[in-house]
Symmetry: C2
Subunit: 345 residues, 2 copies
């Protein structure tokens, strides 16, 4: 047995029904933590924080120190990939990201053909430092955005309801869309390989926006590109595990689980685990899915939400998590209560 | 056979597989039409337009004259119900609606206990005038928003990503949420009864935001209240048909179809009809689901999208529609092409 395989999250990702389930939270390094807000105030822009190995290391470790989560996830953003490719990316407070739009063959031609890994070296440096500082039983996760989600930001230059600009482009100019997705697939493989090289035990691929794709586009623009990233990563890093989170798959989970492109399926808060999990292969690890707003509310809503996840996942390989990122308004005491309740099984 | 039953949409709603399928479009009276924009410019505020029987009648009829759709849907907005209950509602151009928030027992107590139907009399007057002007084979549809969707606007005072404020309130103050939903159920029944009284053959209930509800809340806040509206309407108007549109049910369609709260199930554009429909009762009428952005794009994307809906629904009781409202950028010629292709079967 390798050292890695003693980490509870990795045991789950290898198919073991660890109990009580290991636990971490999407966006666990973030604004709900006073120590994050203090450090954030000093850091300049959001991207400055992502690209500063000292600060990114510190921010990544903060929730581990406070809650003893079973995984640290490197503090970064899915938009560092387009940024490294040459897109202008800014994060204005309270506005969400703003990017120079990529909507033509000429725009695409201006981007780097191959991901310039040196532009992302601070991320890899932070991964190495976090790994060195983590307790041995704590897994370290890398991540990237799925190509469709990243492309939808690149095309619109920002987040948009139902990704309308990207969907329209997909209909109007399928060749350009395919070329952009291909560029992102290759860049994501290179990025994830290097994250694993720097110490990530596993990676999560975030498809925040799969749900708005019509059926004719969901396969070619979401599922297949994710599958190519997983295959490309594993061709070079056979031991890397991949958690794939496609938000909004809802009742399609069972159908998709038969050809799921990763080692584990992360589920959003809208899924009924008690009804969904019996339809999935018992060997497919899952992750999720407490409603982040039940964590904000606390009290009975929180307890009932935690208990529902525990009851539905007992006996299965499952990683306890939220069904979406933790929100800034979340009281620390509610997170403590959640972790305590999960660890009590 | 009544006159009503000769209207193709009503034949479908009664379970007949009419071919080619009747067709209308959600938001068919709207900004993509130059004649709408011309009239809109004269009308003052958006609510002024909704509450002006002359103008609302004219706007409702515009798409019928141009495209000969099989149904007219009364021009109005789901927020006229909270407005009539006493909520301050404004539509600022390019901003979406803004409402005085309802977040406490005191706020709720300030609203009318029973829907003041007289405040909505211009809507009923417009329905009567539209009915009188419509060709006999054209159905007239009324509508309202589902309680959860309307409540989510009332609580946040505006549209919000994933309805976070309303979801948080549902966890923190379930009694208040229930009371608000109950108020909207009763108001919606009264409103729909009066719409049918004024000439609507059928009504559609719009649940735009069901998808973000966690499983423990979806039943009590979305499905059951809609069911109570349908039952309340039919208790007083047994001949009224109800189309229920819950956006984002995705792979849950088959499961939900067994206890669907309306006469017909409207499906959004993300659903794969070819895979979904075989799992539904063959007697359950469906409606949908062309991606409105395929209609914007036109060309092959449009033709393929139309053909996919036709191929999947042949032999079933189905009403051709978009999978969401038509968007302002849609070229008129694309709508003409869509209607022509649908009518060619």
């Amino acid at each position: 047995m390798t050292v890695n395989a003693t980490r509870p999250i990795l045991r789950v990702l290898d198919g073991e029904a660890v109990w009580p389930p290991p636990v971490w939270m999407m966006r666990q390094a973030g604004r709900y933590l006073p120590e994050y807000r203090a450090l954030r105030a000093e850091a300049g822009s959001f991207l400055d924080l992502c690209y500063n190995p000292d600060l990114a290391t510190e921010v990544t470790l903060q929730p581990i120190r406070r809650f003893g989560f079973d995984a640290a996830i490197i503090f970064s953003d899915i938009l560092v990939v387009p940024h490294a490719l040459g897109v202008d990316v800014r994060f204005a407070e309270g506005e969400g990201p703003r990017l120079s739009p990529t909507t033509s063959t000429e725009d695409l031609a201006r981007l780097a053909p191959v991901l310039p890994l040196d532009r992302l070296s601070p991320v890899f440096e932070a991964l190495r430092r976090v790994r060195a500082a983590l307790p041995p039983e704590t897994a370290l996760l890398g991540f990237c955005g799925a190509p469709w989600t990243v492309a939808s930001y690149m095309i619109a230059g920002k987040g948009t309801p139902d990704q309308a600009p990207a969907r329209t482009l997909a209909y109007r100019n399928p060749d350009l869309m395919r070329a952009l997705i291909d560029r992102l697939v290759e860049a994501s493989i290179a990025y994830l390989v290097e994250q694993v090289e720097a110490g990530a035990d596993a990676v999560q691929i975030f498809e925040s926006f799969g749900a708005a794709l019509p059926p004719a586009l969901f396969g070619p623009l979401s599922l297949e590109p994710i599958g190519r990233i997983v295959a490309g990563l594993k061709a070079r890093k056979p031991d890397a595990r991949v958690i794939v989170f496609i938000r909004g798959i809802g009742g399609q989970a069972a159908h998709l689980s038969r050809t799921w492109p990763g080692d584990a399926m992360a589920l959003d808060w809208s899924l009924d685990l008690a009804r969904t999990l019996p339809g999935l292969p018992g060997t497919l690890p899952t992750q999720g899915n407490l409603d982040p707003l039940a964590l904000v509310a606390g009290g009975e809503a929180l307890d009932r939400g935690v208990d529902a996840v525990l009851a539905a996942t007992r006996g299965r390989p499952h990683i306890f998590n939220l069904g979406h990122g933790i929100v800034p308004e979340t009281p620390i005491a509610h997170v403590e209560r959640m972790v305590e309740r999960v660890r009590a099984g």
